[in-house]
Subunit: 544 residues, 2 copies
């Protein structure tokens, strides 16, 4: 017999807590079907979630079954998250931005029995459905009035389904290690891999990640969750918010500056979370419209490194603090958040650039995440802010093995290799310096491509720049700088190389420069180093 | 195979996290042995904790063994907490304020093998030791210079012990349900009962209880932990603080206003936690010395209800917000914290008394604690802020069974009866109205003795007042008001009863008043209703 109560915690208890203790707190959604604003509360939502779970049970969904969602952020999507996992099934979030073949692969690999979809994605699913033999039902997340005349086999209206559910539904009890949700990562090579979150991992992620050194949400916060629920758990914010009664505002499909700004202005938004490109769009809008950021106090920005100018503009022009964050699907996803620390007190006023240097780092881990950087021999490297190595992470909300894979994704001590190269400074601040596959290994030492790219991009004549490592008979690899000049601009090889001098270690400076008309990009607009390395496979350095 | 990492979390990982991520953050202690200030850091502490665990292992301490502490709040006591539980043994905190017989009972019941004690308590232990056959070692928490010439068998100097330890000690792994710590409750009747906390219960308590709706500590906080580590887990603050890198300030044995204020002034204290009597002492000191509360922003006050005037004085005179809290040893101990909610916005400025009404409530539970009020038939009562019933609680950091007891302490659904009677309002705010054994049951309805006592204590002539329930042939029980008048003051039966009119329900008004010279008090200065009920056992109401 246990001395303390041993009942496992079901993820849905987060919403139950919100319903009991923050029953009137609002969930505001811009509807995907018609762009109108919908308002509900945690109290009302919890009733509907019980009806949903009951209806799914009547439909024959069992514990462990995969029920997928293909939807924007909105109140019905939130209900699906809690209803599906609360009944013991697995909520599988599908990313509508994937290619059709990837979606087909993922849905078949997960053997989804049901797909709950926004009206928006019905045409997409109509095209895919003949390739999805495991899917028995398509539930359209809308009411009867908005039901499309659709060609999906067994299409069901979400609101009709709910009517068939029983709000007296009682949640089952099962071990906390029971899977609750599933999200696939889309690597640049190979098939997507599924990360299977558990009730335990999501609860610890929400509880620890919401301490003051993490998201720090409270009942006084109103958060606009722009980061999609189909992408890396919406950074866990849709669990963390109801846990403390934070008002939830969800933008649906409208991610443009004007739509986002309307929600910020009308809903008393105090914080928000999204990738840098969304903030770029919003900053553009603010610039043109002369608007401000109303009651917003701070922003969580992650997904890729936050540009220095963005932190500066948000601070100086709008009085908004950026909480730079880093994570990955395999980490539920929270790895680090950059929050103010005692040693930073007064720094902003005294030395703004030094303060910016710190804010450009990805931050520090909350309790639960352990991290270290290692060299090629797995030896731990010093936390000095300059030495960089492969970043390994460990903790209760980090993947152990991918879905349906027998091999572990971690080493014998549970360390997961993030595929990133990073520095960690004496205060524990992480800074991602490169993807491991892009780092240049020269004479046994590592050279960061990203550092040099960031510097050279500051040259007036440069449109795009990439530094790649190519084979060198003596040094193993040496860096080559590939440059696409701005139209009508000129710059010589010598000029560009000397631009780097004094800014990076002497031995980092590339051995040569190659000018191209177009630096190749990936589908998501990032520089494709894979393509560049292929393009320059036969290249020989001048000294060879 | 689990999909997410399944390694159990050891409680000592909280300190490990602090050492890695907040290594320079200070732990400041006023030493029990000589009142001097000692400074260390989480980084240094974690090295010493590994040496302590190693030394205890060499001493023959095994997993599950009870190692007791008898100590004030200080850095060595903190090391004991983490070292003992981290190695898998059980840290048993002894309350030095207990009677000798209670201490003997508790130590023998727990079968403590070791007692780690402050120098202060050596004389006490010298007297007790012949009654403590299980205790093999007494470890005196001091250095060689301060070692007393003591008559304790097998006395060991703490710092010498540490020297024998190995800082390369590797923590063992065990299930999270492994007991980590033990604390006895001292009821007014019967033997003390042990509450055996686990690694899991303490970790969840610290993580969930430190969200913004709980303690909300951060790396920017400096907390003076006055609530003793020997009492109800120091409210979990000594776990919550290192979890987020909060500076820890510990007052040792000096609880007087001047000593407490010195720490507040010199250590940049931003928050603190203690029972109301401590703040009474401090407010007195501030009044007489004309000092203020320096950088303190808010205070956590609990242990007993915070008087209304205290909240008002701290707010109006010192600009300090009171976070009224409630809990009990059986709850690790956090049950509720009174934090500002959106519905309270602007209330303080608009209607100060209404705001005070809310601040006088004990607050709302963090995620993890469920609570309900029930009547005698176990039927749940409405959350309307006026109906009161027995308060039941449930959750992962609430007791299931007392130490070495086979019977469960909870009902079939894990509800633990707190022994308190309370109201819960529509916003989820709890207010304790009575101890269950003191509530008056009249005609099937309940009457709160505390409510009426609080009102009558406002009468100028009243020194002390108690309302007790006595047998009544028709109503089962009726209230009797027992009053001790201030010296030289007079008040008639009719005057006192009419003073209550309009302030409580008509049928609550006591049937009679009895004047006494001295209202009997308990050893801790509370009104002894047990004694009063005995004293008036033969009393008959006027209408009988």
């Amino acid at each position: 017999m246990s001395s303390m109560q041993s009942a496992p915690i079901n993820l849905v208890e987060i919403l139950e807590h919100a319903a009991i203790c923050h029953g009137d707190r609002e969930i505001v959604s811009r509807l995907a079907e018609d762009g109108t604003i919908h308002r509900t509360t945690y109290g009302e939502s919890y009733v509907r979630v019980r009806k949903l779970a009951s209806a799914l049970e009547k439909m024959g969904i069992h514990k462990g079954d995969r029920v997928a969602t293909l939807a924007w952020n909105g109140f019905r999507h939130l209900e699906c998250w809690f209803g599906i996992s609360g009944m013991g099934a697995i909520c599988h979030t599908l990313n509508p931005r994937l290619f059709a073949e990837q979606l087909i692969y993922i849905i078949n690999h997960a053997e989804d029995r049901v797909i709950m979809t926004d009206v928006t994605f019905v045409p997409l699913l109509e095209k895919l459905q003949e390739h999805l033999p495991t899917v028995e039902h398509y539930i359209i997340m809308t009411d009867r009035a908005h039901m499309p005349d659709c060609g999906l086999h067994g299409a069901i209206c979400y609101e009709e389904l709910l009517e068939s559910g029983d709000e007296a539904y009682v949640w089952p009890s099962f071990p906390e290690e029971t899977p609750s949700s599933l999200c696939y990562t889309s690597g640049t090579t190979g098939n997507p891999k599924g990360v299977l979150y558990t009730h335990r991992s999501n609860i610890l992620h929400a509880a620890c990640g919401n301490n003051a050194d993490g998201f720090g949400l409270s009942a006084d916060t109103a958060i606009l969750v722009i980061v999609p629920m189909f992408h890396a758990n919406a950074w866990g914010l849709t669990f963390a918010a109801p846990m403390v009664g934070t008002k939830l505002i969800m933008p649906g499909a409208a991610m443009d500056g004007a739509s986002i700004h309307e929600l910020i202005r009308t809903e008393g938004v105090t914080t928000s979370a999204a990738v840098p490109t969304v903030w770029n769009g919003l900053l553009d809008y603010l610039d043109k419209s002369g608007q401000d950021l109303a009651e917003i106090e701070n922003l969580v920005i992650g997904g890729s490194a936050v540009p220095r100018y963005m932190i500066e503009v948000l601070d100086k022009k709008y009085g908004v603090e950026v909480n730079h964050a880093w994570g990955m699907t395999e980490m539920s996803p929270l790895g680090t958040v950059n929050r103010n620390m005692p040693f930073m007190k007064g720094l902003k006023e005294k030395d703004y650039e030094a303060w910016l240097d710190i804010k450009c780092k990805q931050g520090r881990p909350p309790f639960g995440v352990k991290m270290k950087i290692v060299d090629d021999e797995e030896k731990e490297l010093p936390r000095d802010g300059t030495t960089f190595g492969r970043l390994l992470v460990r903790g209760p909300w980090i993947v152990e093995s991918y879905y349906k894979q027998t091999a572990k994704a971690v080493d014998a001590d549970d360390w997961f290799d993030t595929g990133d190269v990073a520095t960690i400074d004496e205060h524990g601040f992480l800074q991602i310096t490169d993807r491991a596959k892009d780092v240049i290994k020269s004479g046994g030492e590592w050279i960061s491509s990203v550092d040099m790219e960031n510097i050279i991009m500051g040259h007036d004549a440069v449109a795009l720049a990439a530094v790649i490592g190519l084979h060198h008979p003596k040094w193993d690899e040496r860096p080559l700088l590939v440059v696409q000049l701005k139209e009508g601009c000129e710059a010589s090889r010598e000029e560009l190389l000397s631009y780097l001098e004094g800014k990076v270690a002497k031995w980092w400076i590339p051995d040569d420069v190659q000018f191209v008309d177009d630096v190749p990009l990936t589908a998501t607009g990032k520089i494709s180093k894979l393509n560049l390395r292929e393009q320059f496979a036969d290249y020989q350095f001048p000294d060879q």
